[in-house]
Symmetry: C3
Subunit: 393 residues, 3 copies
């Protein structure tokens, strides 16, 4: 028996376990977004989510992982894993990468065509994300920024790219009236939204917990336990704070807002779940949930049309979570700010330019007629629920 | 390398794994119940389930865990974990607490308002459940009762409180005719019911398996294996026995009854999965499934209106499972009975009084008009499936 | 502390973890198939899936496991586990068995009656599958065939039995016109299809990863990591290749084809994920995805009516995957072919005869009227979505 390798084994097993939880977020995002859009665009959103996972994982296997973690060439070569299987390390990191684009997928939904979005996904997973990731997690010049599981590296990056995408795409036709009125477009399937939200919440335990990378010493096991508890606490604080706010505003418990509040809290704790105690995540998460509720109408006021509230969840809270590390633990506010700002300055303009180029070269947006009847038939040749009679939307 | 801590590490990892499975039961209950109610009440049920998880976990973090396991003050302080991370121990126990109220949520659905139910959830997770739990699992005066994962502590407690809630609330309008006829109200979404039922079944492996608390010795690993196999066996025996009974009664394989039968079997094995061999769970589970099928019409005869059959699943089988420990393994029937009866005598009247007080102070039940059009718009401001044309129900 | 047992413990834990992932495939198949059939047959498909899991697991507990792995008598007696808990070994193997019939369940859907299908499930899990399994995995005369997790043992066996079932059953009424035209019957619920497909994908990590049986040495941990990465790679390659083909054929990204392509890639890597490097799964999976797309119209040309494409996914790719082991790793093509052919020669005629006998004795197929109105009301007494108004199909 090679006892000496037990920590290697246990850490490898732990990373594989965490990876599987993260991959549960693929159906999580798919269900959340499919439930939030209208029935006529459900298939396009689902197809996007599945293809995003396939394509970004593929690119990351080919070269993205190597770019991000100092390898050479392709297929993991030259990357060194720190006391666990390189395959498990790759799998864990690969599970992250589709999230940067899944984050965007709901926000650009109901008008983006799938193929151009997939082209962006290739660029994101092959270049933008590995480059940002390298500077913070790969030992690059922002390695002092404390970002446990990616409030900045994952969520802000996805959020900035989404903002660029929405600006290039424009709003859905009919979303904003001539005098700037916002036309409400209700979510089409609330059970799917709930299922998706809860799968994301559960996946987050792997996301943040796994980012400790080690569990095989007493201290490491305690740290993983703390991270997972704190992750959950911030999620529930986000849900409760969002629930209070919407209840006092409208006397209604809007579950889409409550779940977005929970997700906001989860994004917010993602940078610092390992460096705060048990009560701080209550504050961090509650502010995260509140930020979602307050940010959504602001984006609408600016006519930045985000059908699922992804900017408020991921961009706003990615920034808040990265700052919170400095406010609630002993880290430099300046360093955290530097991470936030430089990441934005790199990701947003680059994404904007890439979206403009994609738009010029292959087109980005569905035409008016297909947007009106829904993208599903044009893009996928299928309807989401062909047998159910639909009311006019 | 600190080899000596490997069991600590492995047990911590194991508890975290089990906890994640249990938290899968949150979407499990949500989907099951959302599928069993009518479309007009789907959002209220989903919102309740998500908020229940958030609120009860929060209370348990604040003080419930401390009350239950002999801590002092708040936030885990003073609780001692037995050879694994305190955070993992808390997380595992926290994963249990929302179940006591999730159990109730389907049974009071289609007429309870969300906010008063949440008030009850606070009282349940902050007082009733930790007190009962302390007497049996926390070293209190019922510590001789053998109840592995809570046939009594979780399922009966939730069941008694549900019975109290239903009696205070009353039946759904139109459910019982003037001559006591029962009007059938069909489940609205069978795929959701199936998904939810299977997620609960899978979550149960963590529920019961994790209740061994240790896996890091050969004997402990065998015990966990046995518990998980037995849990599954009782579930399938419950499903098969329910299927046989409904098939011989009606020549129809009613999946809602089959899944409730499986859940009945799972509840029944929850007290004793660790102390019986491989064949006993077949009997225990089959009787559990049969009890569900026979109990459902009895409650209806008594005009106790339980839209999802939760009393038959959780209360009846919570009692049966606790008794079965004495019948199939070497435990005192008297002690088991004492646990069952004292738990009921504590939980039922207290819950009844609390529901009456909540009803007086803030109201409990939706008014007639909102019950007729469905709770979703009034309580949540949303419809579950706004685009699908509905037939009259 | 008994250090010496840590590998026993970790391998046991690992097998339990893998088993739970595999059991997630039960709702996975259920959702996939329920989404692919018409709404009028949804409940029958769901009921079949749940009952299949219950019945086949039960038979396997009673005697199937003993037949397959050289035990004597019943209930695991006489089977020896290799360095992990016998219970975990049983649970893992039990998690496999329902898959052989779940594979079939979509293919025979929309016209098979549930009870006769359950009779076949008993015969499959009690005899056909344990016998084939014994010859390859139980040390029998085909033990030289390399089939890691069952491209042949699970997928071809299920596929051959399905082919027999479809031939005995015949096509759905109205599926093929007088001149052999194929009438398209669209999937009824694409979110369920997507959810089910992704749950299957995720479950596959347990399926293939767990088939290493050990993780508790450095080499074993690396092997498990490699298997899981390769499994994922073949799945995404199958999805991408299917997407390319359907896009170039029809300019539409048909998600049902893309997911079937992913599943085809996953089946194809199931035999050899442990014996190839990181790039081979791209080829194996991409061919797997392409085979699905090209095989589906072939079966339709032959008027072999398979509503969900299960023959193309499981039978065609089960064969392809078993061959691929010899093409991409150092194994005998002849031996692999022998495994494929003998398995087919055993399973197909035997299943055919059994289906014919079941048809004679208890009947197999729904009558014309019930097929027209849907099986749900006749077989289960329920509708899948009773409140949604349906368009004529």
């Amino acid at each position: 028996m090679d006892t000496l390798n037990i920590p290697y084994v246990v850490d490898t097993f732990f990373l594989l376990f965490a990876s599987v939880l993260i991959i549960l977020m693929v159906p999580g995002f798919a269900m959340l977004e499919a439930g939030l859009v209208r029935t006529k665009n459900v298939v396009a959103v689902l197809t996007g989510n599945v293809m995003l996972y396939a394509i970004t994982s593929f690119i990351f296997l080919l070269w993205g992982f190597n770019v991000m973690f100092g390898g050479n060439g392709f297929f993991l070569s030259g990357v060194v894993a720190d006391g666990y299987s390189l395959y498990a390390y790759f799998f864990f990191q690969m599970a992250f990468v589709s999230k940067t684009v899944s984050i965007m997928s709901g926000g650009v939904s109901e008008r983006i065509r799938i193929v151009p979005f997939m082209i962006f996904a290739v660029l994101m997973s092959g270049f933008i994300y590995p480059i940002v990731g390298n500077t913070i997690w790969g030992g690059g010049f922002l390695k002092e920024v404390h970002d446990l599981a990616g409030s900045t590296v994952i969520h802000s990056v996805g959020g900035w790219a989404l903002l660029a995408g929405i600006l290039v795409l424009g709003a859905r036709r009919g979303r904003y009236g001539k005098e700037g009125q916002v036309r409400a477009i209700p979510a089409s399937n609330i059970p799917l939204v709930t299922l998706g939200g809860m799968l994301l919440w559960i996946g987050w335990f792997g996301f943040n917990g796994g980012s400790a990378f080690h569990i095989a010493t007493k201290d490491a096991a305690d740290l993983v336990g703390l991270i997972i508890v704190n992750t959950n606490t911030a999620g529930l604080a986000g849900a409760i704070s969002a629930a209070f706010i919407v209840y006092f505003q409208y006397k209604k418990l809007d579950i889409t807002m409550i779940l977005n509040g929970a997700l906001g809290g989860l994004v917010a704790i993602t940078a610092g779940a390992d460096v705060v105690g048990l009560w701080e995540p209550i504050i961090i998460g509650a502010i995260g949930g509140a930020l979602v509720i307050f940010a959504i109408p602001v984006f609408d006021k600016l006519q930045i049309d985000d059908p699922v509230g992804a900017l408020s969840v991921h961009l706003v809270n990615g920034i808040w979570g990265t700052l919170a590390v400095a406010l609630f633990a002993d880290f430099s506010l300046l360093t955290q700010l530097k991470g936030i700002i430089l990441t934005g300055l790199f990701t947003f303009p680059l994404s904007y330019v890439l979206f403009v180029i994609i738009k010029k070269v292959v087109g980005l947006r569905s035409d008016e007629e297909h947007e009106y009847v829904g993208l599903d038939l044009e893009e996928c040749g299928l309807e989401g629920y062909p047998e159910f009679v639909k009311s006019k939307v």
